[in-house]
C-alpha cells in the first residue's frame, strides 16, 4: 500500500536535506539528476553536494534556498512505496501546508535540536490536527550539533507532548532523533546514539499503520452521466463516479440522495469494463433498474443500513487561502464532492491561535488564517462530519468572479434552523 506523507518546514530545519537524504539513500535519485545537483551545488556555492537541491525545483527556490510550493516526490523500498507532499513551513504558506496535509496519512514534523519546537513546528502540528492527519513523526534533526544528547532529545519530546495536549483534535506522535546531514537514523540506524533503541525514520515509515478511520458504507457521488447516442446502447444510462467507503454489487438496493428515490443496480462497470462487484476507490459506472432522474452531484448509497446526513447549514473549520478578506454575509461558490452550489458565510466565529491552540472571537478572516465559520448552502449537501469521513466533510470555496480557490472547509456539525 502507498503511504502518503506530509512534510513542512524550511531549509533552516533541514527538511529539504532530510527528503533529499531519503531519496538519495533509497537510490531513488537518477544519475543525471544527481549530476545536475552536483553542478548546481557548485554554482550556488555549497561546499559539498547539497541534497536539498533535489527537492527545491523552482529557480526562485534554489536561488533563495527556500521551499515555496507543494512538491510531490515518490520514493520507495522493497516493502513500501511513499509519496511525499513537501511544503514550506512559514506562516505565509499555511495554505500550502493545508493542501499537503489534506492528502496525507502521516506527517513528518521537523524540529531543530538546537532550538526545540519552533513556530513552524507548532503550526504544522496544528494543521495536522485540524486536517485529520492522526499519525505524526517528530523528527528531531541536527542531533550532531548537540553532541547527540539524550537530555536535549527528551526535553524536546516532553515539550512537543505538552503542546499536543492543546490541539483541537487528537494526534498520535512518535519521535526519532536524527541527523539528515550525516544520514544518522534516516535510512540506517546509526551508532552515535546508543541510548536510542527505536527504528530509523525509514524503518518507522515502512512499519507505520495509517489511521484511516473512515466510516464504512459505500458512497458514489455522480460525476458524469454516460448516455451513448447510438442505436446499440439506446437505453444505456451510466452514472459514473469514484466509489468510496464500501462496495456495491449488481442487485443491491440503493437510494439516490438528497432526493431519496430508490432503485436497484442492474449493471456495473469499472473503467469501462463490466464487473459484478465494485470496490472502494474504483472509478465505476452504475446502471439502475428503474428510469429515475439522477444527475451530477447526486449521491448513490446502499439503502441500508445508515443513510448519510442531508443538511444545508453547517458549522465548519476553514483555512482561508485568499488575499481578499472573509467577512460575514459574503457569498461564494462551494464544491463538495461533485456538487457545486452557491454558499453564504452566515457568521465568522473564531480565529484559531495556531501556536497556542486557543480560539479568539472575530468577524473576519485573512489570508492564511484558520478559523471557525457557519455556512449555509442554497440546496442540501449529502455530507458526514469530517472526522468521521474526510470525503463527507471536505469542501472548497471558490470566488464567483475570478474562479480562484479561496478556502478549504471541514464540515463538522449541522446547524438546525
Amino acid at each position: 500500500m502507498v503511504l502518503r506523507i506530509a512534510t513542512a518546514g524550511s531549509v533552516d530545519d533541514g527538511k529539504s536535506t532530510l527528503i533529499g537524504r531519503l531519496l538519495h539513500d533509497t537510490k531513488t535519485v537518477f544519475e543525471d539528476q544527481l549530476r545536475a545537483v552536483e553542478r548546481a551545488s557548485l554554482r550556488y556555492g555549497d561546499g559539498s553536494t547539497n541534497l536539498a537541491l533535489l527537492t527545491d525545483g523552482l529557480r526562485a527556490e534554489r536561488e533563495q534556498g527556500i521551499t515555496i510550493d507543494v512538491a510531490y516526490r515518490f520514493f520507495g523500498t522493497p516493502r513500501r512505496t511513499f509519496v511525499v507532499a513537501d511544503t514550506p513551513g512559514h506562516a505565509q504558506y499555511t495554505r500550502n501546508m493545508v493542501t499537503g496535509a489534506s492528502v496525507s496519512d502521516v506527517a513528518i514534523v521537523l524540529v531543530d535540536a538546537r532550538v526545540g519546537p519552533s513556530e513552524q513546528t507548532k503550526r504544522h502540528l496544528f494543521i495536522c490536527s485540524l486536517l485529520g492527519v492522526q499519525r505524526v513523526v517528530v523528527a528531531v534533526n541536527k542531533m550532531d550539533l548537540v553532541d547527540w544528547s539524550r537530555t536535549v532529545f527528551d526535553d524536546i519530546v516532553a515539550e512537543v507532548t505538552e503542546h499536543i495536549g492543546l490541539l483541537p483534535y487528537p494526534l498520535e506522535v512518535d519521535s526519532i532523533p536524527l541527523s539528515a546531514l550525516l544520514g544518522e537514523n534516516v535510512v540506517d540506524r546509526g551508532s552515535m546514539m546508543p541510548w536510542y533503541e527505536g527504528p530509523s525514520l525509514l524503518e518507522h515509515l515502512e512499519d507505520i499503520e495509517p489511521r484511516r478511520s473512515e466510516a464504512s458504507g459505500a458512497r458514489l457521488a455522480v460525476q458524469y452521466v454516460i448516455r451513448p447516442h447510438g442505436v446499440e446502447h439506446h437505453d444505456y444510462r451510466g452514472f459514473a463516479g469514484r466509489l468510496f467507503g464500501g462496495s456495491l454489487a449488481v442487485g443491491d438496493e440503493v437510494t439516490v440522495l438528497p432526493g431519496g428515490r430508490t432503485s436497484k443496480i442492474s449493471a456495473l462497470s469499472r473503467a469501462g469494463v463490466d464487473v459484478f462487484e465494485a470496490q472502494a476507490g474504483q472509478s465505476i459506472a452504475v446502471q439502475l433498474v428503474d428510469d429515475i432522474d439522477v444527475g451530477r452531484g447526486d449521491v448513490i448509497v446502499p439503502s441500508s443500513p445508515a443513510l448519510p446526513l442531508v443538511a444545508d447549514e453547517f458549522l465548519a473549520d476553514i483555512s482561508w487561502m485568499s488575499e481578499s478578506v472573509l467577512s460575514e454575509g459574503s457569498r461564494w461558490t462551494i464544491k463538495h464532492n461533485s456538487r457545486t452550489l452557491r454558499a453564504i458565510v452566515t457568521s465568522v466565529r473564531h480565529r484559531y491561535d495556531v501556536l497556542g491552540g486557543s480560539v479568539a472571537p472575530t468577524d473576519r478572516l485573512e489570508l492564511n488564517d484558520l478559523g471557525v465559520v457557519s455556512i449555509a448552502t442554497t440546496a442540501p449537501l449529502v455530507w458526514e462530519p469530517y472526522d468521521r469521513r474526510r470525503s463527507g466533510g471536505a469542501a472548497i470555496l471558490m470566488d464567483e468572479a475570478t474562479g480562484m480557490t479561496v478556502g478549504a472547509i471541514m464540515l463538522r456539525d449541522r446547524i438546525s434552523s
Partner: protein, 306 residues
C-alpha cells in the same frame, strides 16, 4: 505510484487508472470545451485510451489536438491518424509551419535549431482560436523538478502563462476547473504515474504505439551527447560522427531535439525490463531541450508549454 528500480512492488496500476478516469470525467463534466493534446507519444496514447475507457460505451466527448511541428517522424503521423480513427474521436491540427508562415513566430535559421519552443505559441493560438477551456496533457510529476510542483489542474492566465506562485491550491484533490473568457486550465490525469507505470499499462491494455519506441536500425549523428536520427531537420555537420546503430526512442517529440537510445528492446516486456533497470531519467537521456539549463522546463512551462 512506483519506482523504476524496484521489482516486485505492488505498482498500483489499477489505482492510477481509477484516479486518471476520475480526473478525466470531472473535467469533461465541469469544463465548457475541453480538448486532449495528442502528440503520438506514449503518454498521450495512454491518455487517449483512458479517455475512451472513462466514457464507454459512449464516445469520448471532446476532440484531440495535435501540435504539428512539421519535424515529425513519419511513423508518428501514420500512427496518429490510425488512433484517431480507431478511438472514434475528432482531430484538430495546429501547425507550427503555419505559425511561421504567418509571422507569429520566427524560426532560428541555424541548422541546429529546434521547433520545440515555437510550439508554445502555436498551442496557445489554437487554444484561443477554438476557445478551448481545458487541455488534457500527459505530463507526469516524475519527469522534471518543475513538473513535481505542478497541480492536477494547472491554471493558465489570459496570456496562457503558468505562474508557479499563483497556482490554485488543491486540498483533498478537489478539482477546480473554473475559467473566465480567454483563460484555460491544463489537466494532468497522469500526474502520479512514472515512466514504468506507463509502460506496464501499455502492456496490460495492449495499447498500440509508433514503431520508433521499439528497437530498430537507424542512421544517427552524435550531437551534444545525444543520438539524433539523420534526416528531415537533422543534417550532419562536418566532423560529426554518423553511424547506423540499433536504437529506440524513449520519448517522441520534435525530431530535431529528441534523441534515441541504444537498445535491443523490441517488445513491450523487453522495454519494461530496460526501463526498470534504467539509472537515467527519460528526459535526461533523450531531450536536448531539457539539458539546456537547470530550469529549462520551468522557463518553457511559464511560456505556455505543455
Amino acid at each position: 505510484m512506483s519506482l523504476h528500480h524496484i521489482d516486485g512492488l505492488d505498482l498500483g496500476i489499477d489505482e492510477l487508472e481509477d484516479e486518471a478516469v476520475e480526473i478525466i470525467r470531472e473535467v469533461a463534466a465541469e469544463s465548457r470545451n475541453p480538448v486532449l493534446l495528442f502528440s503520438g507519444g506514449k503518454d498521450s496514447a495512454v491518455l487517449l485510451h483512458l479517455a475512451w475507457k472513462a466514457f464507454r460505451p459512449g464516445r469520448i466527448p471532446f476532440p484531440v489536438m495535435h501540435v504539428d511541428t512539421g519535424h515529425n517522424f513519419d511513423e508518428v503521423l501514420d500512427y496518429r491518424d490510425r488512433m484517431v480513427e480507431s478511438y472514434g474521436v475528432r482531430l484538430v491540427i495546429a501547425s507550427v509551419q503555419e505559425s511561421i508562415d504567418s509571422g507569429r513566430v520566427v524560426e532560428d535559421p541555424s541548422p541546429r535549431s529546434s521547433r520545440n519552443r515555437l510550439q508554445s505559441v502555436t498551442l496557445l493560438d489554437a487554444i484561443a482560436k477554438h476557445e478551448f477551456s481545458a487541455a488534457f496533457g500527459g505530463g507526469r510529476r516524475d519527469e522534471d523538478k518543475a513538473r513535481a510542483k505542478e497541480r492536477i489542474i494547472s491554471f493558465r492566465d489570459r496570456f496562457g502563462q503558468w505562474e508557479p506562485r499563483n497556482q490554485r491550491p488543491e486540498p483533498w484533490n478537489i478539482l477546480n476547473t473554473r475559467t473566465r473568457q480567454g483563460e484555460h486550465v491544463r489537466a494532468f490525469p497522469l500526474s502520479n504515474w512514472t515512466e514504468l507505470d506507463v509502460w506496464r499499462y501499455i502492456g496490460r491494455e495492449r495499447i498500440e504505439l509508433p514503431d520508433i519506441y521499439f528497437s530498430h536500425r537507424r542512421v544517427v549523428v552524435e550531437r551534444d551527447g545525444m543520438l539524433l536520427g539523420v534526416g528531415g531537420p537533422v543534417v550532419p555537420e562536418p566532423g560529426e560522427s554518423v553511424r547506423e546503430l540499433v536504437v529506440r526512442y524513449r520519448t517522441v517529440g520534435d525530431a530535431s531535439c529528441t534523441g534515441a537510445v541504444i537498445s535491443s528492446a523490441s517488445t513491450v516486456d523487453e522495454v519494461i525490463a530496460e526501463v526498470a533497470a534504467a539509472r537515467i531519467t527519460e528526459r535526461g537521456a533523450t531531450r536536448a531541450d531539457d539539458n539546456f539549463s537547470d530550469s529549462a522546463m520551468e522557463d518553457r512551462k511559464r511560456e505556455g508549454y505543455f
